[in-house]
């Protein structure tokens, strides 16, 4: 052990490597429900070359290696299931380039969402990125690795669809550029017109390499932003409402929530959508288009626009929204976990009914949190439960409810988003055998020693 420690210290400096139990304690868990497992070391590299040397060492010594952003996925993706070295990317937090006219940024692999947001606000007020509703410490690289979603997802798809290039350290130790940056100094594309190799890394949870740079598309930031909420008591109509809203092409983000508390939300489904504009006229034109698109539901009394109190509006317009952290403490114990499959919008009615059924069966407080992806091409339906961490029975009931939901969503055509290892296994079993074989071939080629985040996406 001490030899490995010395070798790591030589690479990153003694201050940035540790095997102290109090530090390993934090790197052995995430804020979700899964059991902890201690790594042997944690390192914090500063450069791609340091990452490269750490990987080479791990490869030579056959030590598992787990890349980590802020560790906020909740589904155990950075819990070092087989020990080894956790590579905490936080020190690689530089914004390398912002190309204003081509609307993209290149950032290091540990750059946080909050840092990029504030950097753009200060230096490029007409540009924005698709910020997720995760805590601001969440990193850009880890968000695209898990196919995260954000404020621009209704317009432009998964945040990973907005990647325009990568720098990756392969399990072999080679530093590899993906996309236009492999040929050009400009990071305008992650693939096209070349073969798109970004798919070898996006969605793989660090099992095929460590992303050390991300090119990320930026988008016009309008001066004004507003939110409206359309409410219905009939879950069967929600897909039609989403269809009408997205058809207008007038909106930024569409979120849906359903929850029994506070009382004002009880028994209803809330389709919230965001409007942006550079002028009052622009935003009002868009508002009118969307209101008109939903007029039929108002006439039939199946839905209506709610009046949003000023305090609530302020909270809804936050980026990222902090309401999820308030939900996390409903049971006064800081516990929050959700299963968020990607699924067809048409499945909203049955998903929302299943959520209520599970909350009753397991006696849990719930919230359904939905984000529309693309123009209604799919949605992330978050089956969220809140629990008291000091209550083992409540935690157990939450686990059981989420397990049951895991099987359910697969049965009705959903695909897991940022799945736990157990869900990955279920998905792999259900997967077309040729697809599974292709995944296995790719893994064997890229990481023959199986050192990269082992336990995840194990296709054997």
């Amino acid at each position: 052990m001490s030899e490995i420690f010395k070798a790591l210290a030589e690479i990153v400096g003694e201050n940035y490597v540790s095997y102290q139990p109090e530090e390993l304690f934090f790197y052995s868990r995430d804020p979700g429900l899964l059991p902890a497992n201690k790594p042997d070391f944690v390192v914090l590299p500063k450069t791609s070359v340091e990452v490269q040397e750490v990987i080479r060492l791990a490869k030579r010594e056959k030590i598992p290696i787990v890349p980590m952003g802020a560790g906020l996925a909740l589904t155990g993706l950075v819990i070092p299931l087989k020990g080894g070295i956790v590579v905490d990317m936080k020190r690689m937090n530089k914004i390398i380039e912002v190309n204003e006219k081509a609307r993209y940024a290149v950032v290091e692999g540990g750059t946080s969402q909050g840092f990029l947001k504030s950097y753009l606000e200060k230096n490029y007020p007409r540009l924005r990125h698709s910020i997720p509703d995760a805590p601001p410490a969440a990193t850009i690289a880890s968000n695209v690795i898990i196919h995260g979603q954000g404020r621009l997802t209704q317009q432009y798809g998964f945040n990973s669809d907005m990647v325009c290039g990568l720098e990756v350290v392969l399990p072999s130790g080679e530093i590899c550029n993906i996309g236009s940056s492999s040929i050009s100094s400009d990071w305008f594309s992650k693939g096209a017109p070349l073969p798109d190799l970004s798919g070898l890394f996006l969605g793989w949870f660090g099992t095929t390499g460590i992303i050390t740079k991300v090119g990320l598309k930026l988008y016009p930031k309008k001066k004004m932003r507003d939110v409206e909420i359309f409410v219905t008591d009939n879950e069967n109509l929600v897909p039609d409402m989403v269809y009408e809203i997205t058809h207008t092409e007038m909106i930024e983000d569409v979120l849906i929530f359903t929850q029994p508390l506070p009382m004002m939300f009880k028994d209803n489904h809330h389709v919230s959508f965001y409007l942006t504009g550079d002028t009052d006229e622009e935003i009002e034109f868009k508002r009118k288009m969307v209101w008109k698109a939903l007029e039929g539901f108002i006439k039939s009394k199946d839905g209506g626009f709610m009046s949003i109190p000023p305090a609530m509006k302020g909270s809804l317009l936050e980026m990222p929204q902090t309401s999820a952290s308030r939900l996390a403490d409903v049971k006064r114990g800081g516990g929050f976990e959700y299963s968020g499959p990607i699924i067809s919008v048409e499945r909203y009615p049955e998903c929302s009914r299943k959520l209520v059924e599970m909350s009753l069966k397991y006696d849990l407080a719930y919230s359904g949190m939905v984000r529309i992806i693309g123009r209604g091409h799919s949605m992330m339906f978050g089956f969220a439960f809140t629990f008291n961490r000091a209550d083992a029975d409540m935690m157990d009931r939450t686990k059981k409810a989420l397990e049951e939901i895991s099987y359910y969503v697969l049965d009705i055509g959903g695909v897991y988003w940022k799945p736990t290892v157990a869900e990955q296994k279920i998905a792999i079993e259900k997967m077309d055998s040729n697809t599974r074989h292709l995944m296995r071939m790719l893994k064997d080629i890229l990481d023959p020693a199986g050192i990269m985040n082992p336990g995840n996406w194990e296709v054997y």
Binding site: V231, T232, D233, N234, M263, M264, F265, K266, D267, N268, H269, D280, R287, K288, W291, K292, E295, F297, I298, K299, K301, D302, G303, G304, F305, M306, S307, P309, P310
Partner: protein, 317 residues
């Protein structure tokens, strides 16, 4: 709705007889007819009863449900140091910030706030008198338990529930309701020496619920005279006032809400108002942004009165 006098009479008779009428489908719940009827026959309560009997919804089901849920008593009320004379904030949290300073120092901190003291009159907008009949006696009983003698109602609906709706439904009210306009007027007279005329032009946004207590409407003008505010003469004032339109949006959609709001705000601006002052915090929430965009300053009447005695307005100008 557009009826001449005779056909309006005929429609009311049809409603009285329990027959269907276009009124039951078209009434936008502005409460205006409660003021126009000088014989206190409560035409709007009758329309509301008939709508409920016939299942004619005014608002989308989900919106009605939401409002009923909001008013559900949950044991989370707040009491100040309740005395025989108490201020009722109903369930409007804005009053927790607005009500302060010299104007209220002879009553405060004697106040009550919460769903347990929420009059529930708003449900006549939603054709749901059943929920009022169920909750209002409990609410009144909650006041009774506090042994209060005089309740200064900070909202028209609260005052209207005790002076108009409860008597109309035969519910006894065991205390004396006082409209806060009357309270403000008397208090300002007591503080007359402190008043420095504001010398501003203002328009009053009259809320729908003030139609339930139209006998107190004159206090608006009386108060403005006391504090040196020139109440601009405009088309949509007094009996001809337009409401904030917020509920119109929920119930009927974009066009009615925007038409009402635009006509109203244009009227204020065209007649030279610099300020738009509100009586109802819900109207203020609904219209403030648009008032500012129309070039006026939105303010609650309490803040306006506080400014006149040299205090800072709480909710900003």
């Amino acid at each position: 709705m557009d009826f001449d006098r005779e056909s309006a009479k005929e429609e009311m008779l049809k409603i009285f007889r329990g027959e269907d009428s276009p009124v039951l489908h078209s009434c936008v719940t502005c409460y205006g007819c409660e003021e126009y009827c000088k014989r206190c026959n409560h035409p709007f309560y009758l329309i509301t009863e008939r709508r409920q009997e016939k299942g004619i919804l005014t608002a989308p089901r989900a919106i009605t449900r939401q409002w009923i849920n909001i008013g559900e008593p949950l044991g989370k009320y707040r009491l100040g140091e309740v005395k025989e004379r108490v201020l009722s904030f109903g369930f409007m949290p804005e009053f927790l910030d607005l009500v302060k300073g010299k104007l209220f120092e002879d009553v405060m901190p004697s106040y009550i706030f919460g769903q347990e003291f929420f009059c529930n009159v708003v449900y006549i907008h939603f054709a749901s008198t059943a929920i009022i009949k169920e909750r209002l006696p409990v609410i009144i009983d909650n006041f009774r338990k506090l042994e209060v003698k005089e309740v200064v109602c900070m909202h028209d609906e609260c005052y209207g529930s005790f002076t108009s709706l409860a008597p109309a439904y035969g519910i006894e009210v065991p205390f004396k309701p006082i409209h806060y306009f009357e309270y403000l007027y008397n208090r300002l007279k007591e503080l007359r020496s402190m008043i420095r005329p504001l010398n501003i032009k203002a328009a009053y946004q009259r809320p729908c619920s003030s139609r339930l207590s139209s006998d107190k409407h004159h206090f608006v003008r009386d108060i403005m005279e006391l504090i040196g505010v020139d109440l601009v003469d405009r088309k949509y004032q007094d009996e001809n006032a337009l409401c904030c339109g917020d509920l119109f949006g929920m119930m009927f959609g974009y066009d009615l809400r925007n038409d009402v709001q635009k006509r109203n705000l244009d009227d204020m601006a065209e007649n030279g108002a610099e300020y738009c002052f509100f009586n109802c915090p819900a109207c203020q929430n609904a219209l403030s942004e648009k008032v500012i965009k129309a070039g006026l300053k939105p303010l609650h009447i309490i803040d306006l009165c506080r400014m006149a005695i040299g205090e800072e307005p709480e909710m900003g100008v």
